[in-house]
Every structure is written in C-alpha cells, then in structure tokens.
Amino acid sequence: MYSVLLILIPLLGGVVSFFIKSERSARINSLFTSLLSLGVVLAGLLFYREDKYWIHDGAWLSVFNSSFSLKADGLSKIFILLNALAYVLLFVSGWKVTYHNINRFYGLFLLTQAGMTGTFLAYDALLFYFFWELALIPMYFLCSQWGGPRRISVTLKFFIYTFAGSVLMLVSILYLYSKTSGMSFSFQEFADTRLQPARQIWLFWLFFIGLAIKMPVFPLHTWQPDTYEQSPYPGTAVLSAVMAKMGLFGLLRWLFHVLPIASFQWADFITPLALSGAIYASLLAFRQDDLKRFAAYSSMAHMGLLCAASFAQNLMGFQGVMLQAFNHGINILGLWIIVEIIERKTGTRKMSELGGLSQKAPALSVFLMVIALANIALPLTNSFPGEFLMISGIFTTLSKYNVWFTVLAGLGIILGAVYMLNMIRKVFFGEEKESVFAVTDISWNEKTALGIIVGIILVLGVYPQLLLQETSATAGAINEKFEIVRKAVLEQLLK
C-alpha cells in the first residue's frame, strides 16, 4: 500500500493543481504535495523498512498477464528519495518565481513526479513502460509551452528522439513477453527467461538504445543540450537530476537482470564508448558560453561515467553507481538552481557577459563553490566516495582493457576540473561586468534550498556509508547475476 501512496500523492496533487485559480494556492498546493511525498519517503526509509510495506500487487491488465505490481529495492528507494527531494528543493528555491498559468505548470510538473516514482517502483514490464511514458508526456508539454524561443522545434526533436527510444524498448519488452514461460510481464518471469546468447544481442541493443537515449550516452545525446537549454528551469533540473536516472535505473534493474549475458559480452564495447563520451562532453562543456548548455554537457559527462561504471559489473562498480547516481542528482540540481538565479538576477546566462559576481553575491558564490567542488569530486564532498568506488570498479573489472578504461576515466576527472574552474573564474571572479552591477545576494528561500543541498553534499562526503548500506543488498543481487555469467563464460573458455 505504501508504494501506491508514493505514486498517488503527486498524482492527486498534480490533478488538484489544474483546478486551483489563485497563484498562491497553487504554490502552497505544490509545496505541500512535495513535502508530503518527501515525508512519506523518509518515514518509509526510517520506520517502515520491511518489504511488506514496499510491495504491492494489484489487478491491472489481466488479459495480458500484466499486473499492477510494485516493489521497491534499495535502488528504487534512493531514487525515490532523490525524486521527492528534488521537487521540494525546486519548489522552495522557486518560491518567488512566476510562470504564466502557474497552476497548470505545477500540475504537469507534479505529474512527472508521479510518473518517475512509478518507473522506479514498477515490478511489471508493461507497467514500467506505462510509467516511463507517463513521466515523459507532461514533460513535453512543459517544454513546449513554457520553454525558450526555440521551444517548438526543440521539443519536437526531444519528443521524436525519446519516443523512438521508448518504442525500441517496447519492442524488446514485447518480444521478451512472448518468450516468458507463462506469457507474463512480471519482473520475475522476465528475469527467469533463458534466452540464447545470440538472441540476447539484438534484444539487448534495442533495450539499451532506449535507455541510452534517456541518460544520454554518446552519440545518442544531441537532443539533450537543446532541450536542457530551451526548457523552463524546473523542467531542465528534473530532466537531468532525476529523469536521466530513469535510463540508469532501467539498466540496473531491467536490462542487467533480464539480459545479463549480452550485457556482459558488450561491456567492453560500451565502457569505452561511454567514457570517451564523457571526455567529449567535458571538452564541449569547456567551450560553452551559455551556462545552461554548460551544465547540460557537464551532466552528460557525469552520466557517461555512471554508465561506464555500471558496465564494470562488479560490486564496487554497482555500489559506486548507486551512490553516485544520487549524488549527481543532488549536485546537478544545485547547479541548475544557481544558474537559474544568475539568469534571473543578471538577465543573461552568457559567461562572456558575466564576471565578478562573487563581490555582489558572496553567499551565492560560496554555495556555488561547494557545489562545483562536489561536481568535480573533491574529497569530503559526496561525489568523492562515489567516483572513487566507480573508477575502482572499472579498474577491477575482468576486462583486459581495464587499465585503459581507468586512464580514460582519469582524463575525464582532470577535464572535469578544467571546465568547472574555468566557469567559476569567468562568472564569479574578475572585475564586475555591467550585467552584475545591480545584483543583490540571494534570498532566504534560495539559501534554504542551497543550504540543504550543501548539507547533503558534506554529510554524504564524510559518511557515504549512510546510503551504501541502503543499496548493498540490491547491488549484491545484480552482482550475483553476473557472477553466474562470469562463471559460465570462464567454463566455456576452459573447455
């Protein structure tokens, strides 16, 4: 029942929002809804830890043997926590920002939360697909109606691109469905299906491309910078902080469990692809002038590393990925909030027109400094243990190219510092430019939101075990699946 509640709260809050007339009530409704979601998630993590609270089995499309089956494992839990936190932080930091038709804006926005929560909980493949699309569709409307000047063409591209990915994923889900022993969509049936390695390969690619577009992984990323640039800030923030994780989640919960052999076989191809994508994105981030595109490429670089570390397919890598997925969400959220503040206060987001902000807004620059350092994985910030474990996972993988993969990842780390410090230098240091003359420091609500983010950054930087213990069982389960595959492959080699 508990897990249904998690989907129901934002869903109802979103629907209610459409019928609210006054702007103030719409805000209060959204904040209340998001706080309630967060409260429920936290209560679940702290007090209702047993599985029975987190599992739900209801009737749905019984004709196809698909049921309304939900289950939260450690990975789902931290993603749901990230999701709930993101909405609260965005509502708090955006408390004073107005949008036209704010009730509809926030209504659609909350619907995406419901969709994503469902995606993270679904334990039935058809249901997973259903929520996947449910999260996307309100996002299209958010981008196309509240976006920047190029929103129409950009949203169209975003729509076609991601929809094509979803369809590929659907095809492979339907094929798998036809191969299950009892013609069922249930997760267990999917995971138990034994397919020939040769058949796994093309299924794997269909499924993986669907997920890779979402993350996005090089070279399937070109929808992303445009969409991030043209979407309204809360939309962009959620897209990169949470929605990108849907791809990662699909990888870890679905693809790896269902098609482990092909996943194992193609790891040596995907890892360097994702890592060079990270380097590629870092180089592009270095050359961006627009802060939104800068953050977009930075996010893509981090997602590349997350994808690569997932394909390390060992316990260290999985734990690192799960920890870092949460951290990346928090950090990039902080970055988006700051970019939004800068654009709102100065009227520009071009680095070439900015400069000397730290004199006008010292509090903002302290927050930015901590968040930027977290983004480049400085020790004592949350990303350090995450990246340490991830790259350690990449290094300890069985692949004979492991050292080269690590070198690529290391290059990414260096370039990460290059573009991040370069941005700080251009925007915050130097002489004050015209655009910042009238800037005032941030207000209480922005301080609250950023303060919470910095708090999380430091707590998880010093004591990452807090999250690691939550995900260790889930990571162990995926790892076990690969242990079996590795053993089988090894036996085949010995024959």
Binding site: S358, P385, L421, R425, L468
Partner: protein, 631 residues
Amino acid sequence: MQNNSPVFYLIPLLPLIGFLINGLGRRILSKTAIALVGSGVVLGSFLLSLLVFFQVKSGSTFNPHYFTIFSVDYLTVPFAFKIDPLSSLFLLIITGVGFLIHVYSAAYMHHEDQPHYGRYFSYLNLFVFFMLLLVLGSNFVVLFIGWEGVGLCSYLLIGYWFKNQDYTRAANKAFIMNRIGDVAFLVALFWMITKFHSVTFSDVLSIPNINAKLKPVDITIITLLLFIGATGKSAQIPLYTWLPDAMAGPTPVSALIHAATMVTAGIYMVARCSFLYNMAPVTQQIVASVGIVTALTAATIALKQFDIKKVLAYSTVSQLGFMFLALGSGAYVAAVFHVMTHAFFKALLFLGSGSVIHAMGGEQDIRNMGGLKQKLKITWFTFLTGCIAIAGIPPLSGFFSKDAILLGAYLNDPLLYGLALIGAMLTAFYMFRLLFITFHGEFRGTEHQKHHLHESPPAMTIPLIILAVLSAVGGWIGIPSALMHGGDRITGFLEPSVVTLKTHHLSHSKEYLLMALSSGVALISVFVAGLFYRNYKPAEVRGFGKVLENKWYVDEFYDKLIVRPLDRLALWLKQFTEPKLIDGFINGIGKSVQWSSRTIRYLQSGQTGSYILLMVISMVVLLAIQFFVKK
C-alpha cells in the same frame, strides 16, 4: 595517553573550527577577533602536537580509529589516524611554522577589508586542517583527502585576490596540475586495492604482505604512479610550473605553501612508503634522477629572476629536487630532515621578502630595490641568516640536512653527488645574489618609496626572529656522528617509521672531506656572488641568460604542446563534430523519414484503379519471392 584520547582528533579539528568560525563570521567578527581565532586554533594544535611528540619520543605509537568511511565488498576504508615518529614530526612542523605564519599574516594582511580578512584566515586554517589530515591518516584514502584538500586551499589562496584574472588563472593552473598528479595517485590506489584488498598502511606497507601479493612489476608501477602524484604536489618535473605562478597569492601564503604545507606532502608520502620504494630499484633511480634534474633546472632559472618571490619559488622547487634525490637514494631520513630545516629557512625567507615588499609598498622587482640593509635591520639580519642556512654553510641548519642528502647521493652514485654539489653551489650563488641586490648597494627605487621605507611591526619581525633562530640551530638534531658521537638524533627518532636499506660504509676521513668540499663550494659561491652583485647596476640580460630568465621556455612549450591543441580540439568539436557530424546524422535520419513519407504519400492517390494496380504488382512480387525462396 590512550588511542581514544581527544588530543588526536582535536589537532585537526581545531583549525577546522577556526575555519568555520572565521568563514561564517567574517562579516560579524572584528579583525582582532578573526586574527585571534585564526592564530589561536593553530597554536592550540601546536601545543597538542608537542604533547603528542613527547609521547611518541618516549616510544609510544597510536592508532585511533573513529568510523568507517565506506565498506564495500572486500574493501573497508576507516577514518583512522596513525601517529608515529614520522607523522608527529610533521605535526610539529605544520603547526609550529604554520602558527608563526598566522601571526605574521595578522599584521601583513591588516589593510584588507574585514570580510576578506576573515576569508583569508579561514582559508589559512582550512589549509592547516587538510595538511594535518594528510599526515595523520592511517590509510591512503585519508591521506588523499588531505592531499586534494591542500590542493583546494592552494587554489583558494592563490586566487585570493580574485578580481585579477591573471591570479585566478594561476590558481586554476595550480589546481589542474595537481589534479593530473592526483589521478596518477588514484590509479596507484586502485592498483593496491586489487592486490591487497586494502588501502591501510599497516596492510600495504608490510614486507611479508608485499612479498606475498606483489610482483616486482606491480611494485614498480605502484611506486611510479605514487611518485607522479608527488611530482604534482611537490612541484617536480614535469608538473612544477604551477608553483612559481602560485606567487600570485599573498606572501604569507607562499610561505605556508612552500614551507610548512603542501609541497612537503610528496616527500612525506614517499617517506611513508619507504618499504615499497626500497623494493623498487627502478623507481628509485627515476626518483633520484628527476630530483637532481629538477634541482639543477630550477636553480639555473633562479639565477636570472628579478622578482624577489620568484627567486624564492624556484629555490623551493630546487630544494624539493634535493629532497627527492635523497628519497631516490634511499636516504629517507635526510629528506625528512631537510623538509624540517627547509621549513624554517624558507618560511623565514618568504616572510622576510614579505617584509621587504611591505616596506617597498608592494614592489617585488629587486632591480628597484638595493641598500635596504640600513632601514630594515631586523629583516636584513634574519634574511641573511636564512641565506646562510639555505646555502649550507656550517653550523647553520641547512648545512647538516644538505650534507646528509649529499652523503646519501654519494653512497648511491658519485655522479649524482657531483651534480648535487653543483646544485649546492648554484643555491649559494643565487641566494646571495638575491641578498646583495636587495639589501646592499645603492637604493634604486623611487623617491616616494625611499621616503616610505620602514621596518615592519613586531607581529611581523618576531616570527622572523624566531624562524631565524630555528634556521640557525634547527639542524643540530642531526649532527653527523662523524662530528659528534650520538649527534644524529633524528635518525634514531625516525627509525621506526622509515626504513633505510643502505647503511653507511664511509670512513670518517672521507666524510670530513665531503663536508669540507660542500661548505667550501658554498663559501666560494658566496664570495663570487659578492663580487658580482655587491654594487648591482641594472643591466639588460643577454644571450643564454635570456633563456634562463624565460625559465627555459617550459611554460611556452606546454602551452604549444598541450593547452592550445586541446583548446582547438574542443573548439573543433563544438563547431563541427557536434552540430554537423553527430546531430547532422540524426537530423538526416529525420529528414529522410520526412522525404520518404512525402514520396510514399503519392501512392495514396485516392483512385481505385491505381490501388488495384498496386495490389496486383505486390501480389506478383510476393509470389515471385515465394517461388524463389523455397524451403
């Protein structure tokens, strides 16, 4: 004292608290309060470190364990400390010299606006905090936290005057060059993790474990990667160019970076890993070679610099080269000993140069100085002490530590000794060149500057005097046993922490000869420098001197080889690959779909006749396929 004694965690915690108080209260607290908090916490750490030092000296070691940072699979990384002779000695250097720099800063930075004053002290405290963490950690991860942490603080302090974009660029350069080394360091850690399943010193640095789990090639790779990390932090070739640029920060910061913290981290780390390095002869050779080449390169550059701080900066790079020469020769104690004496005289020299800059109203070019001896008596005298110490003239501290290094080099390879002797000669020469040009001869500055000349306030001169005393007598804990029986106390003290394989096989008479040679060379250098520069007249640098003045064009070389190509690659990716190639391909798919749907649309003409025709054609095709593709 027990492992759970609060003394241990208070040592790093106090500066952290100072950082928080000054950082958060920089707008509320008065300057006096800020200075008191900033210096007070470091003094507190120093007193506690003294307490710990005497405990360690009486033979105890401590391993306080606090909590588990993370534990995944077979790897458990605790937040724990290791307190032994090596770390306790570093604690004293960091907090002791660090405290003096804090006191000095209180006066030197007094003209800064209040919030910036607070910011400055908070960074300084944070710097000390990370450095303490670095030497206290009982495993490589805690060490690495401090390791990257000091990199961060140097970034913050070099870019302290953030309005100047040249300074913030220098700050970025420092951080990024350090990061390059840090990545190598991390790879070394991953290598250890796969082999040892641990990053704790007691597991990794034990000879039975190393023998059981590492092949010689593993040892070589791990030690080499760690050393690359050290070249970043301790400014060795090829990652040294950030250190001279780090002069962009306030002068006391240079003293902190060059003497008490940061650059000594690499020496500490290698000395800590002496077990590993002893078993990697190839790496040892590389360490020693890089050390001596760096020492000579930097010394030659220092010969022709005119910025008072730049001379000192290159001198640091050069002295660090000597320390690596010692490490590579297996003379770990000599390296650590030199870290200590160097901390005294280099802090003294930097703070002294700060006093000069202060008196000259911000002037740093020594061509515009001269004759300062009359007006700045204390500064001159203490600076002179520092110069004698660094030049290696007995009986000041530098003589003993440098002698230990030279001895180590001699035992390793007489060629290295010969090169090191040249290095020692150059050191004495450029230091006294600096002294003579700055303090002797005629005053060459403006009238206004001449009028303004004054000795610095006591908050600045007292640290100078203390450091001068330490520079003079600090070496007496390591008097070679050839000169005084039982004089070499530092070796006995450090013995439990660092393992030296090579033992002395040198007769006393030979040792006397080496000592006489090195002090003789230094004295001659001083004399020659006096001949050339006692009455210095600014003249254009010509010929080969130009190459030295331009630092062998290494910065330009890096710029051409790495920075600009990378920049151009990024631009090319942005302008061509991303929009034209990748996005162009995707858009191409979109366009071709549009085109084909436009074309196919013509088939739906709405005329029954054409539909029937199409149907017939299709059936024929299908039948044909059936016909040819028979099972």
